[in-house]
């Protein structure tokens, strides 16, 4: 019975002390979410989905940290970071494509005018 208690205590200490609070990566993920929002991710459906996922996972990670589960929190933050990065990339892709289409239309208009 004494051995069992000892094992239990050791396991508890390892769980608590094994992983530090992933504060740095959490801050980075939050910054990326803010960056994606500035980049227009909220107004592009595909990007908005990943922005939402990123935010949800940050909330989840914060709850996990409160519960002391830093290890899982770190993995959830990795997910959040990946979604935030993707949200920004998708927003930029859409705006680049829109700009290209716009330029193409202007060019065609100009060419049409030039041949008149």
């Amino acid at each position: 019975m004494r051995e069992f208690c000892l094992v239990g205590v050791v396991a508890l200490v390892t769980a608590c002390g094994g992983a530090a609070v992933p504060q740095e990566s959490l801050t980075a993920a939050k910054a990326s979410i803010a960056g994606a929002e500035v980049g227009g991710a909220a107004s592009e459906p595909k990007a908005a989905l990943h922005l939402k996922l990123a935010k949800e996972q940050v909330t989840k990670a914060e709850n996990l940290i409160s519960d002391g589960d830093n290890e899982e929190a770190a993995r959830v933050i990795d997910r959040a970071q990946a979604d935030a990065d993707l949200a920004l990339a998708l927003a930029k892709e859409v705006s680049a494509e829109k700009a290209a289409i716009e330029t193409k239309e202007q060019l065609e208009k100009l060419r049409k005018k030039a041949t008149q």
Partner: protein, 281 residues
């Protein structure tokens, strides 16, 4: 026999279970990540976002390794989830870069087309300007010629503008002997100058009208005025006026311009009028 079958079935089930344990099914996240990476390699990412694609590759490799080591544990799912996003990011970055390059090229094309269009407009404008200057010069020349012609006409005849055109009035006494329709020599000289002035200034058509005073019978006056108009017409044709552009008409005494009761008035009424329909009317 029944027992034997059950045993075989049990063995089959067991061996399948063992096999399933040895190679567990990959989690959905890993399947998604593989698909996403496959899609990315077939997109414009290899050409335009090779660094991001490489990151995605490494990310997928970590997920695959975790799957080998840990099976479908949450850690594998998390790594696969991240790998899926990295692959999609590479594809997105690839098409963004491609779109931006295409746009940059079109921008260049736009500018050069714009410059071409400007050049075309410029040369068109210059051409128009030259044409206008030439036309203006031509017009000025014509006007100068016209005013010179009018000035020389004014020296030998009365010229006035009426609604029917420019009317050149030649006094009958200068042109004809009394009762005759043959032109006097001095008249021929004058008419030569008139013809020259008319040819110089150009015109659409000419109408020669003969007028008399009210002395004598109206019939005779009508015949005389017709003959006189004809003789002026004939002479003008001989001086180069195209015959299809000139007509003659006898008016007789019906349109006096002065009082027929005085000698001076009658002299003014005896006249030939040349009505000029100007060009461009």
């Amino acid at each position: 026999m029944k027992n034997g079958f059950n045993r075989i079935a049990l063995f089959t089930l067991l061996s399948q279970a063992v096999l399933a344990c040895a190679t567990p099914m990959p989690p959905q996240e890993l399947l998604d990540a593989r698909t996403a990476y496959d899609v990315a390699t077939k997109s414009s990412a290899p050409q335009y976002a090779p660094a991001q694609l490489d990151t995605a590759k490494q990310s997928l490799a970590r997920a695959e390794q975790s799957f080998q080591d840990n099976g479908d544990e949450p850690v594998t799912k998390d790594l696969a989830y991240v790998a899926d996003r990295r692959a999609k990011l590479a594809a997105a970055e690839g098409s963004r870069e491609q779109a931006e390059r295409a746009r940059a090229q079109m921008d260049k094309d736009f500018k050069s087309t714009e410059i071409d269009a400007l050049e075309t407009t410029k040369s068109k404008l210059e051409h128009e300007q030259r044409a206008r200057a030439e036309a203006e010069k031509g017009l000025a020349d014509a006007q100068k010629k016209l005013s010179l012609a009018m000035a020389s006409l004014a020296e030998i005849a009365k010229v006035k503008e009426e609604s029917r055109g420019v009317v050149i009035t030649l006094s009958g006494s200068v042109l004809f002997a009394t009762g005759k329709s043959a032109l006097l020599p001095i008249a021929q000289e004058k008419l030569s100058e008139v013809a020259k002035a008319l040819n110089d200034q150009g015109f659409k058509s000419l109408l020669v009208e003969g007028h008399t005073d009210s002395q004598g019978s109206a019939d005779k006056n009508m015949v005389l005025s017709q003959e006189r108009a004809e003789s002026v017409r004939t002479y003008l044709i001989s001086q180069g006026i195209p015959s299809d552009k000139i007509k003659a008409q006898g008016i007789g005494s019906s349109r006096p311009v002065a009082d027929n009761s005085t000698a001076e008035g009658r002299a003014n009424n005896r006249r030939v009028e040349i009505v000029v329909e100007p060009l461009g009317k």
